[in-house]
Symmetry: C2
């Protein structure tokens, strides 16, 4: 009889990944994933970058490298963080990770003992909840409104909760809600966490995908005490298939993340990092991102219009300024897990919302992704979901 670590009691199959398996039948219109649109991947350009790397530095690309990752790419990331997010940083404060998911895991490992508290927006990213669960924390949720985390509520939580070791936030086009924090809230947030001196993860996978409204600087750009760990990724602006993302943090945190990475995985892919570095050198990634932005902006507007047209007035939903998701709240008596099963019979999929609340509940919400569907799929799919909702109205 083999015994597993106690932590394993906490670890369950990700609802999204399980659902994605079900929705891979070609006849299903899926709003369930969070995949970037594959038809926008710069395949030709990426191939040219791979070829150049292997021609010029093939033996380096195929060899082991350093734990923090390919130095020229870290230089490029540091420069881009300043250009795009007003973050003043250096290559030495960047560590590459195999997707931001790995960065979340490293944060959990660095800061959390069992029973420690992680503070998150309510709702928040399911994948972050799952990553932190590996460290067996307790979760405290901070209420949100249409402008994201409510700072008075955060202040209340911090004033009354012991052992808060980590705060996890997504200020831009949040997953799952699609909401963005305005500038005033960002300032309030930084004032509060500077006072409490609690490490913060600012997860920003979608920041460059703003379709409308005003740009706001990253929390990390206002971080005078080195508390913010900024997570960025190439998954949404280039492609997720190489698994190259990064953490940007203080010297002390980066040193410790490197120790964890050394023991846990040695390093990210040398070749993957070099290929992305070469792509950035050879091609205009900003022009590429502009193209993605246009397509997603259109798809978001099609979905929001379809929800206006086909969802009953009892349903509220967000109209995101960027990112990949909208979030709908239904009457509280409607269970969206049951609704999802019913919609799947009509070959339409979405993710029920309760998984995005670390302490459960909120069975009446749903997350809808629009980045990967055609106009026709969006309109028809939303119409079907609307019909199923109506059937379930009291």
């Amino acid at each position: 009889m083999v015994n597993y670590a106690k932590m394993m009691d906490n670890v369950k199959a990700s609802e999204i990944r399980e659902l994605l398996a079900l929705t891979q039948r070609p006849e299903v219109t899926s709003f369930a994933g969070g995949l970037p649109a594959p038809e926008l991947f710069p395949v030709e350009e990426f191939k040219a970058a791979c070829d150049a790397v292997l021609e010029e530095q093939g033996t380096v690309a195929l060899q082991y490298g350093t734990t923090d990752g390919w130095a020229p790419l870290r230089e490029q990331i540091a420069k881009r963080l300043f250009d795009k997010n007003q973050i003043k940083t250096e290559a030495k404060n960047i560590m590459l990770t195999a997707g931001s998911q790995q960065g979340l895991d490293y944060c959990g490992r660095l800061f959390l003992d069992p029973g420690d508290v992680v503070v998150m927006e309510s709702p928040s990213y399911l994948g972050a909840i799952n990553a932190f669960k590996l460290s067996e924390p307790n979760f405290v949720e901070v209420p949100t409104d249409e402008n994201g985390m409510i700072m008075e509520e955060l202040e209340k939580v911090l004033a009354t909760t012991k052992n808060v070791k980590l705060i996890y936030v997504i200020p831009d086009f949040q997953n799952p809600s699609g909401r963005t924090w305005p500038m005033e809230r960002r300032k309030q947030f930084m004032e509060i966490i500077s006072r409490y001196e609690i490490p913060v993860i600012e997860d920003n996978p979608y920041g460059e995908l703003r379709y409308k409204g005003t740009y706001h600087p990253a929390l990390k750009s206002m971080d005078t005490k080195g508390l913010v760990i900024y997570l960025g990724t190439f998954s949404k602006i280039l492609a997720p298939g190489t698994r190259i993302a990064w953490m940007c943090a203080s010297d002390e945190y980066i040193y410790k993340f490197n120790l964890i990475a050394q023991a846990a995985v040695l390093q990210t892919s040398t070749f993957g990092a070099m290929a992305i570095s070469k792509y950035l050198e050879m091609f205009d990634v900003d022009a590429h991102v502009a193209q993605i932005r246009e397509v997603y902006k259109h798809r978001a507007s099609v979905m929001v219009q379809a929800m206006k047209d086909y969802f009953p007035p009892e349903v509220t939903f967000t109209d995101p300024d960027g990112g990949l998701f909208t979030w709908a709240e239904l009457p509280e008596y409607i269970n969206t897990k049951e609704l999802a099963a019913e919609c799947l019979k009509y070959n339409v999929a979405f993710v029920p919302g309760s998984g995005f609340f670390p302490n459960g509940g909120n069975e009446h919400c749903m997350r809808l992704n629009y980045s990967c569907a055609t106009d026709e799929q969006i309109v028809n799919g939303i119409k079907i979901i609307g019909d199923v909702i109506r059937k379930n109205l009291k």
Copy 2:
């Protein structure tokens, strides 16, 4: 004042990685690493494979994939495990990992609570010790001789130790000792662990790099109870730069490793896995491995001969049948950390042995790698180490 997780008290910089940083000056002859010879990487062929993948399935290669990894590669691995290691398995029992290091981490996470016991050969792989330390276990070392782990000693340990949750072994061309278990010991081992029903990690990165002597089947091929987790990798037979390795284990273990991977990292690189799969399809990897084997065989023989010629008779060392390392034991009063510092003044590097003992001690040993040096470097380097040893003899 930010607090870190208690586990972090355990986690220190890897001596090898720190040393490698010092030895990267071009004038240093380094026997310290464990790098494959980069001049043997099949760069052209790998480029052709990358091109084919991006031409034929570019949008798939750059997209997210499943947590267990690219299915056709797992099929190829299952077939190869039977051909090379007599392991009867299927793709569903394989999960890709970002290097075997990640597999070690997953094993620690699946089985170990703080204070649980890991049993290892004495000495054993430094990277495995570091990976397990993230789970805060206690280590119990089993004495070894020229044929690897002594089974009577293992039996004694298991009969008298509580909470043994995991046994970690490298039966082929062990890192660091270069030793291989003969068939009789493999049978004894499997008999013992079947009786105690304790999960075993069989780490086999070098198995295909046998230069001489008789082939022995993997422990996993004799595993009737699903206790053995076999770790294999492309790092040593192809290239480490894409970070593609695998775990082969029972349905139940693989299911749980998938849960951990989902939460910790989502998946390995889709593109990296597809490129390797395509390489295996397009080219004759066996012919490539044969070429590696010839080169390393030669380098191993040059190093062993040089040790015979230039080391004083007080030093004993192994003459490996394969793999990347030889292991030397000096008189106990010689401290190899001090010796390494002295040798580095003459621009020669090796790894002091004590790091390979999870409970420390054994300051009189050293690990020497020969895969990455020319004949001249090997002869001159060993001569210098021999001279420095002589100076330190009493």
